[in-house]
Symmetry: C2
Subunit: 348 residues, 2 copies
Amino acid sequence: MPAKRPAARRPTMKDIARRAGVSESAVSFALNDRPGVSEVTRDRVRRVAEQLGWRPSTAARALSGEGAATVGFVLARPAHTLGVDSFFLQLVSGIQEVLARRHLGLLFQVARNVDDECAVYRRWWAEHRVDGVLVVDPRTDDPRQDLLDELGLPAVVIGGAPDERHPGLSTVWADDAGAMASLVDALHALGHRRIVHIAGLPGFAHTERRIRALRAEAERRGLTEVQSVTTDYSDAEGAAVTRRVLRATAPATALVYDNDVMAVAGVAVAAELGFSVPADVSVVAWEDSALCRMVKPWLSALSRDSVEFGRTAATELTALLDGGPARTVRVPVPRLIERDSTGAVRTG
Amino acid sequence: MPAKRPAARRPTMKDIARRAGVSESAVSFALNDRPGVSEVTRDRVRRVAEQLGWRPSTAARALSGEGAATVGFVLARPAHTLGVDSFFLQLVSGIQEVLARRHLGLLFQVARNVDDECAVYRRWWAEHRVDGVLVVDPRTDDPRQDLLDELGLPAVVIGGAPDERHPGLSTVWADDAGAMASLVDALHALGHRRIVHIAGLPGFAHTERRIRALRAEAERRGLTEVQSVTTDYSDAEGAAVTRRVLRATAPATALVYDNDVMAVAGVAVAAELGFSVPADVSVVAWEDSALCRMVKPWLSALSRDSVEFGRTAATELTALLDGGPARTVRVPVPRLIERDSTGAVRTG
DNA sequence: GAATGATCCTAAAGCGCATTAGTGGACCAT
DNA sequence: ATGGTCCACTAATGCGCTTTAGGATCATTC
């Protein structure tokens, strides 16, 4: 006979109170390190709780005003760009590390677009589900930040610009402009003058930052054959753009891809068109991952510590939840790892 | 002056009751489609709720016995194998699709190992956080299933074997053995006799299933030079094993990798050692993704619909939560997509 | 014209916890 | 002895919801 649900009952504070011979309130005080009980009683209560395997019911906690002990994370990208991105899993991994330490849960949701994402925030807020959220892929003119302000939902924007007029939101960002500048430096030093930047989704704040930075650098140096092309981050578009660019008369000598996936797709296309990397064209990926060492030649890449990025973001959020002020923190500038896909431009 | 938290109060049923001029219980009946209120009242209450933007507080719901409206998902793999795997994001994507429709939240956590994972389940259960969980990467002799049985926590095992003696758990699985058999069929027809299977983590149920299936097929055909080697799914180990295998005297003519990442790493090593794919060695990836079309030659792969896999699993879990019986459902056998990395064995 | 139901609704209790307002006693000062 | 302070603890309330037990009103029935 298949044993029916043992339905082991979860122990409650009442159980602890009974076993310890004190009132429920005493138990509450004892377990929350509040004054009002003697040390001996506190110890006894703690031991009983431990022994019973008691854990506070998040529902009850949340109901009595303590918050849900949960933070939210919404991923809103076109479905087909989700698959191959190593960044997010790493980011989430770092986030978890910090949250788990404080027993905070991570509520995860994928949405189709920013509007849906906003709806999710509204619902979470109304349902009392999360105490705060982590926002990724901030846009220029982002409706989410206004919404979060309005709801008063603590939030950390990951990858946002520091010039926010949303004083309630924390921001964790990398200096893409600086990274782009030093990248152009490096390429320029190698003799590259025709540079194409295969960017990510237009409207993303960091995409725009990189594009602007590239343009500024080009102007500063008087380079006229430098441009950015936006894509949807997919290998397909990365390949398509590469094809178009390399078929031009006087094709670019350096290609900068906004992610590793497109860069890999790009070198495949280059090879197919008879371009040798890096002899004919240099390739740089803006995101380092195992992928970059899985193709030949190994890809030079701008590397940052995505796990640490996640840790930082989560730390800021917990600070916010603790009542701290909103802050803007900058993570280290991505560093260029030169591997085999970049080289001096062919002379003559 | 920076506007302080507007602290917009969430509307409660009491607000609705007041505005609609009825009691709170009437509101509850009305909104939950329970008998006890007239249609006109029901409509009025619904309208007021709508207008106020009311949503039930999950905390309150959970507290009054309705469950947490949340399911859990723990990912326990060594950190470095997390990064490049496209399978999980797709799986989660499919899971979400089903859960979101019912407004079920997905609580996500990464753990270091199975023991930590068990601890997470215990905590979630004690904290009343989830109504059920989705379990991935089942092992042979898996402590999780016993634990979940013990806790009476509804669960769906994704990728488990169908021969479970855990009648309380649902299982969603793919017929790896069948897929392996047809794969060996195909390779055998191409003339391959020396086949090496670069498998995933030992102890994983599906790893063992594939290994057993390969051995069975080999025996059935009297092939003696067929073997499986386990790895940790990383590109590094995939490359290392490939190197070792191809350096052997009489190296294998066909390599079957348990994921796309290792397969890609493998072809790179093959090229490096002077092996041409597929002329000298055929390569198949057990998992199809954009990756397989990002290298040259394009990789032949066993393809399955991971998003649909996720949908199926989530559907089973919701059925379980609705009080349905535990079931074992099989998803379609992975299909071999023949691209450019497989071919007839070189004669002579 | 009282008993019987059916219908629509309200009152009240309870879920598990935090928190506020007591309560009784020990201990001190007057 | 009287009042005042601490101290360690208990009682009671509320969070937002579901649910059970009733009540009030009205139509039906013999």
